[in-house]
């Protein structure tokens, strides 16, 4: 079968905030760029971000990027790479002003400047008083940002391939990345997109968990493609459980609720966060708050007849503040929890939310992997940004509002880097003869499978296994068992069968291909978590409750081919300032 082929300067997979920010840079530079997305760009999951984007604008309280850097390093439980963190925090103001100039409808203060609100883990003066650093458009910051970026790309005439799914990376013998194979969902056709630069901005993979704030599309496609192509995945044991997902549903309730003055209560009506984080209380880091909620439930202080959730109270903020600053939260609470937060608290539980790990990159967005001479050699032609990448600015725990900053800073940086790199490498390299063999074999397997298992069933087994074995608190025996159970799920996933064989918009086929990617992410997560014998950030081991910097101040690298682990050092040296050495982390 002859496969159609098209050539571009750059191909971007994913049209969320990171992909579209990069695309804008490339389109405005006049490069020929293709942006592929499984969904229409404004349906990408950036749209669901609520509370804000961090930048030390100082519009409300005195602030500077260095304090933001300190908070981010501390929030990461010292696993974040300090060169990348300095790079991000230094650029925050500039990229936020740029978004405003693009037309993003930020809320405003009386003096006409961008509105900012407090958020968890953000301090003034290196751990002092609470900072007010989150730049917000009500509680719809992601929506405002994503639509603005799409609009700006319309202006720049960016070429989108809408409802196309990336299938696999194409690498040559040297390991250079030369493009991707992709599937056009409407026609079922497979195409080769050859590119001098391939950028992954495929977002998260929260759908490996049964209870997740993530959209259906968050299936880790970029990680699956990278893993199958021999690229390691970094720090996959670190998953953020957001403290406040709607009980029983999983829909996100923004930390902005607590930023605006809301707080958590247990069944006795106690503000229990005071016990866990005497200084920051409800605005401690998310890992700390999620563990507190889980502990309250475990110790019998949960609410409801099954004592299995807690309450988020905000009625004291008053109808005006709620309607002006938290209108989306009110809408979600009414629809999904059947409570109006103007009168009643919202029932919440910790819910899988964000993947700190991902495809290893440097702060230019270039993918780096061990090859011959060191652990961080650049993979030529391959870039990754946003949640699918591990740069690593979030380390073992991400601060709220740093994800929107991450996607904009590194989306732009990767765009700039690609422009530079293409000046040096202006030609397409020849594609290897077997460029499409593996992916066609994978598709043929799925088409011809007889007597295989239903995709939905295997997916449910995967999500329930991850939920039970790799949650907020982790136990040695459960992790060990989890590794073998997920291994079994992987075998079942390789034998799935679809009933739908249509070429036209075959969502059964898409879901089967997504399952392949979820399996890669789940395996990487479980294997990495089982091996890390310490507690750091979001990885909380029951049997190793302390952080162990002597043995574990290092990044995990997981290799899919033999499910092997390797490690590499944390970059403790920032670009220009002094390093923040690891110290006990209290809030």
């Amino acid at each position: 079968m002859a496969i159609a082929r098209r050539k571009f300067d750059a191909v971007i997979i994913g049209a969320g905030g990171a992909g579209m920010r990069a695309a804008l840079q490339l389109s405005e530079a006049g490069l020929k760029v293709a942006v592929l997305s499984k969904v229409f760009p404004t349906r990408s999951h950036t749209v669901a971000a609520q509370g804000g984007i961090a930048a030390a604008l100082g519009n409300v309280t005195e602030d500077n990027w260095h304090w933001h850097m300190y908070d981010t390093v501390k929030g990461s439980d010292y696993l974040g790479d300090q060169d990348a963190i300095e790079f991000m925090c230094r650029q925050a103001n500039e990229v936020v002003y740029e978004l405003e100039h693009f037309g993003m409808p930020f809320d405003r203060l009386e003096n006409g400047k961008i509105y900012q609100r407090p958020f968890g883990g953000q301090s003034q003066n290196f751990g002092g008083a609470q900072a007010t650093r989150s730049c917000a458009a009500a509680d719809r910051t992601g929506h405002a940002m994503l639509h603005t970026l799409y609009q700006r790309n319309v202006r720049a005439n960016t070429q989108f391939f809408i409802e196309w799914m990336g299938l696999d990376l194409i690498r040559d013998e040297q390991g250079d990345v030369l493009g991707v194979t992709a599937l056009e969902m409407e026609t079922g056709e497979v195409m080769v997109l050859q590119a001098k630069a391939t950028l992954f901005a495929t977002g998260g993979a929260g759908r490996i968990f049964h209870a997740s704030t993530n959209a259906f599309i968050n299936t880790g496609d970029g990680l699956g493609m990278a893993a199958r192509a021999g690229i390691p995945l970094e720090d996959m044991e670190f998953w953020q459980f957001h403290p406040t997902g709607v009980y029983g549903v999983g829909v996100l309730i923004s930390e902005a609720v607590r930023g605006e003055g809301g707080y958590l209560l247990n069944k006795d009506g106690e503000r229990f966060m005071q016990r866990y984080a005497p200084h920051a209380k409800d605005l401690a880091s998310r890992d700390v708050v999620s563990r507190a909620l889980t502990t309250e439930i475990k110790e019998g202080r949960g609410c409801g007849k099954d004592a299995d959730h807690l309450l988020l109270k905000l009625d004291h903020l008053g109808a005006d503040v709620i309607n002006m600053r938290l209108p989306g939260i009110r809408e979600i609470a009414i629809k999904f929890a059947q409570v109006d937060p103007i009168n009643e608290p919202i029932p919440v539980v910790p819910t899988a939310h964000y993947m700190m790990g991902g495809i290893p990159t440097n702060f230019h967005g270039q993918v780096v992997a061990p090859y011959k001479t060191g652990p961080e050699e650049v993979v030529q032609g391959f870039y990754a940004v946003g949640e699918c990448a591990c740069v690593s600015v979030h380390g073992a725990n991400r601060l709220g509002t740093n994800s929107l900053l991450d996607i904009i800073v590194f989306g732009r940086a990767a765009g700039n880097r690609i422009i530079e790199d293409l000046k040096k490498n202006p030609h397409h390299k020849p594609l290897p003869a077997d460029a499409t063999d593996k992916v066609l074999a994978r598709l043929a397997r799925l088409e011809n499978q007889k007597g295989g298992e239903n995709v939905a069933q295997v997916g449910t087994a995967l999500r329930k296994t991850m939920q039970a074995h790799c949650g907020v608190f982790r136990f040695a025996d459960m992790l060990k068992q989890g590794v073998s159970r997920i291994g079994e799920v992987a075998e079942r996933a390789a034998q799935t069968e679809i009933g739908d064989k249509s070429r036209v918009f075959n969502t059964a086929r898409i879901e089967a291909l997504e399952l392949d990617n979820l399996v890669e992410v789940a395996l990487a997560t479980m294997v990495s978590a089982e091996a890390r014998n310490e507690s750091r950030g979001a990885h909380a081991r029951d049997d190793f409750p302390q952080r162990d910097d002597d043995k574990w101040l290092k990044h995990t690298l997981y290799f899919s081919a033999d499910r092997r682990l390797d490690y590499k050092p944390v970059r403790l040296k920032p670009l220009t300032v002094e390093s923040f050495p690891p110290k006990p982390r209290v809030y």
Binding site: T42, R43, H101, R108, K113, R140, G328, K335, N454, V504
Partner: protein
């Protein structure tokens, strides 16, 4: 619970038909989308778009018992049975509940949906008072789901010429932005017997909007702007 769902797969060459499903829902299946996901776990050929499942991405707009809405924020309890599900009206069907939204997005693009300001950007943010910013409330929140536009008879008759309520709501979003400098150009772009003036204020769009927005009111304000600049 009983459902009757529009089915069409051009790859099979059959005519469209309505298929009945009788499915036992779990207590956790609160929204229509949960029910559809359950049906799909049994019949994987049922095709629909869905993503955020919380009403912000705009993927799963469809016609539910005769009204346009988002499956993910439509509670199943209280829906009349059999629940009749059809693709959004007025757009070509690709397959089952999936419509071709090309025309809808062409109309959106036609209003130049981006801020136009030719002054060199300042070092920091452009200032905007809270009152000026409040003009965008109830306008910028559109999720481009097309529930409104595909509920509008004027769009059904002239989808190539009438911008439609979603596009016009966004036209107003930029006309109302104190930072935008292209007001006159934007009004010129709508000054036409079809693009704006095919709206006859029947307010189907207001009724259909799952986000509670009011395109008719925004269209009225654009018409006022047109009048003001001629007198």
């Amino acid at each position: 619970m009983r459902f009757s769902i529009y089915r069409y797969d051009p790859d099979k060459g059959d005519q469209p038909y309505m298929q009945d499903y009788d499915v036992a829902l779990e207590p956790s299946d609160r929204m229509l989308l949960d029910a559809l996901v359950r049906i799909k776990s049994v019949d994987d050929s049922l095709s629909l778009r869905r993503s955020c499942r919380e009403g912000v991405c705009g993927s799963d707009a469809m016609n539910i018992n005769g009204r346009n809405g988002l499956a993910c924020i439509t509670p199943v309890a209280g829906l009349r049975e059999p629940v009749e599900l059809r693709p959004l009206p007025g757009l070509p069907v690709i397959r089952d509940l999936i419509v071709d939204m090309t025309q809808f997005f062409q109309q959106y693009h036609s209003i130049k949906p981006y801020l136009i300001n030719n002054d060199p950007p300042p070092e920091t943010e452009r200032l905007q008072s809270p009152a000026e910013r409040a003009e965008l409330d109830g306008v910028y929140e559109c999720i481009l789901c097309a529930c409104c536009t595909t509920a509008c008879p004027s769009f059904w008759w002239n989808p190539d010429k009438f911008v439609g309520p979603a596009g016009l709501l966004q036209a107003y979003r930029f006309l109302a932005d104190s930072r935008d400098q292209a007001g006159a150009e934007r009004l010129d772009n709508l000054e036409d017997p079809y693009r704006l003036f095919r709206c006859h204020s029947i307010m189907n769009c207001v009724d259909a909007c799952p986000k509670g927005l009011n395109p008719t009111s925004a269209i009225g304000k654009i018409k006022d702007m047109m009048v003001k600049r001629t007198v």
